[in-house]
């Protein structure tokens, strides 16, 4: 019962492997940190684990099953840039409910105000938009969440608040979390285990 990547290998140009023989696993409720230098393949690995791209070698299993297409993926990826991850032509309410209808409790946990729901994405700041992206990923069917530099653009206080509510909900629902970040202090603070990409 874990999100497991076995012997993953991936390249963009033939025979220049970004990832090779990478083994990674996260158990439900566990918080795993991914660290490494820029360009070492952290984001590529996240995209493979979340099913956005297929690895050239190896395979990804979620609770002993291969992910199916055309159904809700139990592994959700939260992107670094919320402005790219949200359709600029949709009102925020539609952005939120594309995934599911979140309860007031979750909205309150991330301090999303009622009046933001009727606004366009351009009328909210990056941090405000990112909260929507986080809530969106917390679908009842989500088993694992990969947070790729999720709070990099926020100030320290907001960052702490968001991680607090986010990890709380994940612990309660037994969701496995992979945290991708450059900040070692953040990783040391919140992760049970740290996985270094590109050093094996």
């Amino acid at each position: 019962m874990s999100l497991i990547g076995e012997n993953l290998g991936y390249y963009y140009h033939k025979d220049r492997w970004i990832l090779k023989d990478t083994n990674i696993s996260v158990a439900p409720g566990e918080v795993l940190g991914l660290s490494g230098y820029s360009g070492c393949g952290k984001t590529t690995l996240s995209r493979i684990l979340a099913g956005y791209i297929a690895p050239q070698r190896g395979r990804v299993t979620v609770d002993d099953q291969v992910m199916e297409r055309h159904t809700f993926r139990p592994v959700q990826l939260i992107y670094q840039h919320p402005e790219k991850a949200i359709n600029p032509k949709w009102r925020m309410r539609d952005v939120l409910t594309e995934s599911y209808a979140p309860s007031q409790e979750i909205l309150d946990a991330f301090e999303i105000r009622e009046e933001w729901l009727s606004r366009w994405p351009v009328e909210l700041s990056g941090g405000e938009k990112q909260r929507f992206c986080i809530v969106r990923a917390l679908n009842p069917a989500t088993r694992y969440i990969i947070a790729d530099e999720m709070t990099t653009m926020l100030d320290a206080i907001t960052q702490a608040k968001i991680w607090h509510s986010f990890l709380n909900i994940c612990k309660n629902r037994d969701i496995g979390v992979i945290v991708v970040s450059h900040e070692t202090s953040l990783l040391n603070r919140i992760c049970d285990r740290i996985f270094k990409v590109g050093e094996q």
């Binding site: 099913g51 956005y52 993926r73 992107y79 840039h81 790219k84 594309e98 366009w120």
Partner: protein
């Protein structure tokens, strides 16, 4: 203290100003649609009796009885112009609509169904663009047997190519957007993504394409008619009015050209204005101003 107060005042003025922008746009929208509506009502209200030949009222300059004057057969030009505009608008709207539908379907198919389909559609587009426009239209119009059928068919079959290219490149660009990948990760179907993500993104392009096609279609209708492949001479079409008036303008009968021509320009401009205001009102960046 003073600066804060000043700031509040400035903001107040700014908010008031933006509100007026929205009001002004709505006003323009109303005026443009109202004008088109008046033309439409007039074209139905004016009696066909004014189109009878009348030897006593030949070549009258504009007056209260005949606002737009009369032509060399004594027909009332106001009635002819209104009825002509109605026909031109109907033909224009219909042909543009068909053309836009063909362009959208072709463009989306080329962008979504892989390389083979893309190659075939791009080849068809090149083929249509490569052929001389007017010759191609005359050919189709001739095959279809002339008349309104022929005009609509020939215009809609030849005008879709440019817009199809625009739609294709738009869809190609938006297809790989992160929010569409995320939508896929929610298990949304391709149909859902096409309807909810892709269509709203290309809609402005389609609307602009539709509006830009309008004058083209009306002018081509006139051209085909002028060449004798289109409508019959007694039909009050704006193209026929203008081409007939061509031979009379040198004898000083300016009203035969000026009023119908001016109204045609104003009508086209009205459509343009409606499209533009709607675009601004619907666009997220400007809709709440």
């Amino acid at each position: 203290m003073l600066s804060i107060q000043e700031e509040i005042e400035v903001q107040g003025v700014k908010v008031g100003g933006e509100f007026n922008v929205r009001k002004k746009m709505l006003l323009w929208l109303t005026i443009s649609s109202g004008f088109l509506l008046i033309i439409l009502i007039l074209s139905f209200w004016l009696s066909n009796d004014h189109l009878r030949l009348n030897a006593t009222n030949k070549n009258l300059a504009p007056s209260l009885g005949h606002l737009f004057g009369t032509d060399w057969l004594g027909r009332d030009m106001l009635t002819r112009t209104m009825k002509g505009l109605r026909l031109s608008l109907a033909v224009g709207a219909f042909a543009s609509l068909i053309s836009v539908i063909i362009a959208t379907v072709m463009g989306i198919c080329a962008a979504t169904f892989g390389k083979a389909v893309d190659a075939v559609i791009s080849w068809i587009i090149d083929l249509f663009i490569g052929m001389p426009h007017l010759v191609f239209m005359v050919l189709i119009c001739f095959i279809a047997g002339g008349g309104i059928h022929g005009i609509v068919l020939s215009i809609s079959l030849t005008h879709w190519t440019a817009l199809a290219r625009v739609v294709r490149s738009e869809v190609l660009q938006i297809k790989s957007a992160e929010y569409i990948q995320i939508s896929r990760s929610y298990g949304k179907s391709p149909w859902y993504i096409a309807r909810k993500h892709i269509m709203p993104a290309i809609f402005p392009q389609i609307m602009i394409g539709f509006l830009l096609m309008f004058p083209h279609v009306i002018l081509h209708e006139a051209a085909l008619t002028f060449l004798g492949f289109g409508l019959s001479p007694q039909t009050p079409a704006i193209g026929i009015i203008l081409s007939e008036a061509m031979s009379h303008i040198s004898t000083g009968k300016w009203w035969l050209v000026v009023f119908p021509g001016l109204l045609l320009v104003v009508v086209v401009k009205c459509f343009d204005s409606i499209g533009e205001q709607l675009r601004i009102l619907l666009e997220p960046a400007s809709s709440n101003e």
